[in-house]
Symmetry: C2
Subunit: 152 residues, 2 copies
């Protein structure tokens, strides 16, 4: 499946997009992050045909981004929640949201706010230095060849 | 144009995806981040038909993500570089790359490393609290309705 769309598969961005780059996947993950879990809720939020939504949810379950579990008294209905792997995409979804709010603002203000549960301050996606755990300015980012590049 | 694809336009993620969600856009931005600037280099990297690449570059220039400028002695050829707005998408691109490397690792190792120019340590995309400037764990993220939600 990783061979289907992009050349230069050596690229980690292309590999990630193979899994979640499809138009609706990031919007499903966005909804799941804010607590949407049931098929009908996803459908209402996204306005997507049932068969398309089913296919996208199945794909995300197959990739381990969402987990499916029974709910209700009979246990015959299913709901979806983000796995740890899926929750990690919060950085990407919130990065997109921050960028959208900054450059294509909604006239009524941002539709969602992301808060730190401890202190209530705004949470943003940012680049951080893993040594100092501090934010890194765009201009201080250096991109160098890694060990996997020679196989490109 | 913002009305073409997604319902619930109130969502900042959907608005961002309208601009850069098309399959190739994030890969063009990835290439520009690592210094690719000329049409032929983008084409070699992406293996994309010339007319499709032209359309994607024009779109990203039109949205102010890339800037086009002449190069060479005659000034008749153009190169592309990320604007400030485009560079801000580094967080999203690197977030996708981090996630791809973690969950779909390249057997030879990551193809690119992101480093802090000051200290050489790894740079990652992460959620940070804007008050403490510290990393926020996924579980400590709270998503609440913002002022723009009621217009949904």
């Amino acid at each position: 499946m990783l061979h289907s769309r992009y050349p230069g598969l050596v690229c980690s961005v292309a590999r990630a997009l193979e899994v979640i780059g499809e138009r609706w996947s990031l919007l499903i993950i966005r909804d799941a992050l804010r607590g949407v879990s049931r098929f009908e809720e996803f459908q209402r939020s996204l306005g997507l045909a049932r068969n398309v939504l089913t296919a996208r949810l199945d794909h995300l379950v197959g990739e381990g981004v969402l987990a499916r579990k029974p709910y209700g008294t009979t246990g015959s209905r299913m709901e979806y929640e983000l796995t740890e792997k899926g929750r990690e995409l919060g950085t990407v979804v919130i990065g997109l949201s921050n960028w959208g709010d900054r450059h294509y603002p909604n006239p009524s203000g941002p539709p969602r706010r992301f808060e730190h549960a401890e202190c209530g301050s705004a949470v943003e996606a940012a680049l951080i230095c893993t040594r100092e755990h501090q934010r890194v300015e765009d201009r201080r980012l250096r991109i160098v060849a890694g060990p996997g590049l020679s196989r490109a």
